[in-house]
Structures are given as C-alpha cells and as structure tokens.
C-alpha cells in the first residue's frame, strides 16, 4: 500500500509555501478577484432558495447514511453497473489505480487519451503514469488545459487555473498552440481552446473521466460540467474509463435531486450547470461500447475509520469553502501543496495520508467558521481541523513547545467550539473579511477572531507564534 495525494508528501510546509506565494501580488490579485466574483454569484442564487437549509440537511444525511453502509452500496453499484455492461475494478491505492488504467489503455491499443477534469486522477498522478507508459493525456477542461500547457498545478477544486489572469493565459496559448495572433478576451481564449481540442475530441479513442456521483440502485454514473468537454469525452471515444473515489456513491437516483440543486449553486453560482451526463453501463449504438470504472480507496477507508472526522468524505467538491476562506484568499491554492486546497484540502490531504504528511495543513486556518457556513453538506471543518491538530500533536510531529501549547489549546477549543459555535456563527455577518491582501493581515484576522469568540485565544496566539517562527 502506498497512498499518495499528488505530490503532497514532498510539498513545502504550508507556512513556507504561503510566505513565498503571498509575495506574488499578481497571483493574490487574481485569486481575490475570482473568489469575489464566485462568492457574489453564489450568495445570490443561494438566497433565492427558500429551502436551502433543508437541502443541506438532506445532502448531509444522505452522505452520512451512505458512509454507514458504504460496503453495501458499493456492492449494489457494482452489481447494477456490471449488469448494464460496465466493468468494475477496485484499487487500494493510487499506483494500483494508475496501473489498471494504463493497462486498459494499452489493451485497447491507444497511445493517447482525452480527459475530462478529474481531481481524483490528479490525486493519483495518473498523467505522470500515462506519460511514463508512452500514452499522451490531453486535458480538455479549459482550466485543466491551462494548467497542463503551463506545466502548472491546479490551485482550486472547481476552477483549477483561477490563479491565472487572461493576459497570462493568452501568452501561454499563443506559445503552446503556435498562434501568431490571439485576442485577450475570455471569449477569444475559449475559442482558441475549442479549436485546439476539436480535432482531438473527434479522433482519440479512449476517454478518461472522474465522476460526481455513482448511483447504487441503478449502477448509473453522473458527471456534472459546463463546457461540453465532459460530454465529448464521455460520448465520442470507443472506450471510457472512469476513476472514482469509493465515497462518491449515493443510494438512489432520487438522491441526485438534492445534489443537483446544492452543487451548481455552491460551486459556480449557477442555478444549474450547463450539462449533466448520466449513463448506465453501455448503451448499444450510443457512446462508448466499452466502459470501465475504477473504484479507488487511496486512504479513504482510513478517513472513514475516524468517527471524529469521517464526515470529511461527505464532500461534494464544490469549492465554496475555498472561496469563503480568508486564508485561501490570501495564499491561493498552491500553498497547500496538494491537489485539494483550501479548508477541505487542509482536512482531507493529511487524513488520506494517515496524518504522516502535510501535518502543517490543519494549522492553515484561522478557525473562523466561514467554510462551515457555506458548506452545502454541512461538514464541520473547524471542528475537524482542531481534531486533526490534536492528532498532529499526539503523533509527535509538532515541535515540543507547540505540542504542549496545542494540546491545551485543542482541548479547550474542542469543547468551547461546541458551546460557542452557534453564537459565533450568528456573528459571522460582522466578520471583517480582509481584502487588502498583505501577509501581515493574517495576525489581524486572528485578532478579529478573538473578538468574535467567547474563549481565551490560546490557539490563535499559538498559531501566530507558530507562524512568525517560520
């Protein structure tokens, strides 16, 4: 077993990475602009839903129920998918998943694949494995294409190239696509991507996707997207291979009605994203005639084993917590050293790695609670961060002084947070989100944190000391 999450195990500790990134004012401006836009849109379309809280409750309950019966629902999915002509594979870790996929691509005789955005394949570093086997992966999501052509890394779960502005993208496209002229409007850049990818969509015989949901009762797979690159990859190739974390299963088709309302509004601030594709195995005469799905563990069952933090697996990858997070908005996604950035990344990345790497990530937060407030499935990220800080301390990875300080702090916080969360959230509206974009705002934010909590600010002080030491 070798669980890896992208290159998180060898990433710089968060404070060091953050220090470098906040010095890049262009990057900070790009991140701040994009997250401001998305937050405004989200706020508008969430406010128009009278039953938003009821949807959140249902969304959480369905996920928690599924996790309690995960083996049964996976087996039900496997049976239904197989019956419909799909072939189900199981992978314990990233390397095994990559091996299965590389072997399949070779078996079908292709040396290239088209890919629709899958964070899971970034987690397993599938592209590296494909290239090592002589197989060329073409990323087709616009942001993923920008990341791939720029030999860059994703910085956001939903909009991975959010750290790049139009002028940077124009320059990149002109160089990599061999264009003599190109406008700088987003329309021009999207049109360039369309031209660049069109021929590949129509030619390449193997498509690779992730999935947003697997439906146990019907064996169906769901991909939520906007550009139509997903439909291209899911529909046009002869062979489709999907790589999906085991936590993505939901029990019934009916359950999808909850997530198809929660996800687009939370992720992109749309009432509905342009396209959803739902398919069940293989359909004669329509789409790929061979369908393989790889169900991936890669540390997920370790997360499941901890009752204090297993709700991490409820995540539907909407990215709302990133956009809301005052730390993410200052540092951008690369500081987290993981394909999963922001608050959800700060709890998911170390847990997937059994807390053996990325131990600074649970500290990459001011515990302000904004992530919990916007989470469409009500993951209590602040409480899990505190829980994980305790684990880091217990594991002896924290320095001695920190260990003592954090142990006391985490203990106080875990009790006090339960008592005062409702109180603190009632005051969130006053939260002084800071947009000035200076590193020295962080202590300012933390000072603000203490204003809004009925608690001696032991962790805040500790975080500040810890931060300034690095």
């Amino acid at each position: 077993m070798s669980v890896h999450v992208g290159e998180a195990a060898s990433a710089l500790p968060f404070p060091e990475a953050a220090k470098k990134l906040v010095a890049n004012s262009q990057l900070r401006r790009n991140v701040r602009h994009a997250t401001n836009v998305i937050r405004t849109k989200r706020g508008r379309v969430v406010a128009e839903m009278d039953d938003w809280e009821q949807l959140r409750d249902a969304g959480k309950a369905i996920k928690d129920h599924t996790l309690a019966h995960l083996d049964e629902y996976l087996l039900q999915f496997e049976a239904a998918c197989t019956k419909a002509g799909g072939q189900v594979h199981w992978a314990r870790d990233a390397d095994e998943a990559n091996r299965i996929i590389v072997d399949l691509v070779k078996r079908y005789g292709s040396d290239e694949v088209i890919k629709v955005k899958t964070m899971t394949s970034d987690e397993t570093r599938l592209n590296v494995a494909l290239e090592a086997a002589g197989i060329t992966p073409f990323e087709t999501d616009l942001a993923d294409l920008i990341v791939q052509l720029g030999e860059d890394k994703p910085s956001h779960i939903v909009v991975p190239a959010l750290h790049r502005n139009r002028m940077e993208i124009r320059e990149l496209f002109m160089g990599k696509m061999g264009l003599d002229t190109l406008g700088y409007q987003p329309e021009d850049l999207a049109a360039a991507a369309r031209n660049y990818l069109r021929e590949r969509f129509l030619r390449v015989k193997v498509g690779i996707s992730g999935a947003n949901y697997l439906i146990a009762e019907t064996g169906s797979v769901v991909v939520v997207e906007s550009e139509g690159n997903g439909r291209m990859c899911l529909t046009l190739p002869d062979v489709l291979i999907s790589i999906v974390g085991v936590e993505k299963v939901i029990p019934r088709f009916e359950d999808l009605e909850v997530y198809l309302q929660l996800l687009p509004r939370s992720a992109t601030g749309e009432r509905m994203n342009p396209y959803n594709s739902i398919w069940t195995g293989v359909t004669p005469g329509d789409g790929p005639q061979a369908f393989h799905i790889v169900l991936l563990d890669n540390g997920r069952t370790k997360v499941l084993a901890d009752p204090e933090s297993r709700e991490t697996l409820d995540c539907i990858r909407c990215g709302a917590c990133l956009n809301a997070c005052p730390v993410y908005r200052q540092t951008g996604g690369h500081a987290y050293g993981s394909v999963y950035a922001g608050p959800i990344g700060a709890i998911l990345t170390p847990q997937l790695q059994s807390m053996e790497h990325s131990q600074t990530l649970p500290y990459a937060s001011s515990l302000c609670g904004a992530c919990y407030e916007v989470c469409p499935v009500k993951i209590n990220i602040p409480e899990i961060l505190i829980h994980l800080r305790t684990k880091v301390v217990d594991s002896g990875h924290a320095p001695l002084a920190e260990r003592l300080a954090m142990k006391g702090a985490a203990f106080a916080m875990s009790k006090a947070s339960r008592l005062s969360l409702a109180h603190a959230f009632a005051r969130l509206g006053q939260w002084p989100f800071n947009d000035d974009g200076k590193l020295d705002n962080l202590p300012g934010l933390l000072a603000g944190w203490t204003e809004f909590r009925d608690l001696d600010a032991i962790p805040a002080e500790s975080f500040r000391e810890w931060w300034s030491k690095r």
Partner: protein, 210 residues
Amino acid sequence: MVVQAMTSREAVLANIRAAKGGPADESIPRLYSASVDLSPAEVVEQFADRLHDYNATVHHCTVDAIPATIAGILQTRQKTGLLIPSGLPPEWLPADYAFRRDEGLSYADLDASQGVLTACDVAIALTGTIVIGHSPAQGRRALTLVPDYHLCIVRLDQLVATVPEGMRRMAALLPAPLTTISGPSATSDIEMIRVKGVHGPRTLEVILVG
C-alpha cells in the same frame, strides 16, 4: 499478512467494514420543496426567463405552427437544413429545407453540419433545464453534442416546475443515457467571467409548443 492474499476488492471492502462508517441508521430528512406554488402560465414564463438568462432564444407556437416556426427560424439564421434523429415526427418538418436523418453519420458529418433539430423528454422551469433521454426523437448523444447549433422542441406537457419533479420523470427514462442541458455550453474558467459557448453547441434555440 492476510491482506496479501486478498484481492483489492476484498481488501477495500474489508477496510470499509473494519472502519464501521457511521452511527446506526437514521432516516433522511427530505423537508425541501418538491413543488412550488406557481400557475402553469407562471411556470412557462419562468422557464422562458431562465432560457433568456442563458442566452438561448425562445419561441412559442401551437402544434400546428411547428413547421412554419422552424421555417422562420431557419430563414432568419440563413440555414438550408438540419440534421434530425431518426424518430423525429415528420409532420414537424417544413418543406423546402433539407433535413438529414442521422443513420450512422460520422463525427466529421456531425461536425460539418449546419446544426441539429430534436425533441426532448423533460424540461425544468426553475433551472431552465432541458432533459434529453436519447430516445428516437432525440437521437444518440453525439447528435446533440457535436453540431454547433441545437434547435429543440419542448412541449408544455413536458415542462415541470422543480428539479425533484423533473427527476421523477427522468427516473422513468432509465437506463437510457440522460443529458441535462441548461443553456448553451459555457465556461467561467478565466477570471470567473462566464463565456457562452465552448465545446457543446454554442447556440441553443427552443420552441415551446402548446
């Protein structure tokens, strides 16, 4: 170790069972709204509004006027014909235009076409969504994907108000593949600015019938 002898499937399932993933069964609260209090006319108006929001063009007509409406649209758009799925009702088609049935057309044929005309299965007003169940009146998935222009006929009896109502009808279409379409393809990947029209049809036009 026992794990060595297990298949990956057995190992993952064993890990899940060992993790005992959660508390005893709880019923799932479904207190969200399955329906809304809108008149049929208001539902139609909302659907049209949403489509306008998405930059889709919307026409209204009666069943008898379908061919004339299609002819008017093609004339305006200076198109001489469209692709159609094999099961599209022939009585919808105006004379004097070339409609080519998709009987095994190549992707290159789809790509080179002037567009596609189809029916749909379900439409959802609240989100401006059209659901294509890929039955004979809508064709295979590639037919409504590769062409750059999609003209879609929505009957008012196919229109529901909410996502849960739409999902009830979609469930009846399984195991056929389902595609939900909410406006033309779009991206917000560059500076979160919404650009309409990327890889899917860049123009969506809808005729509401009834």
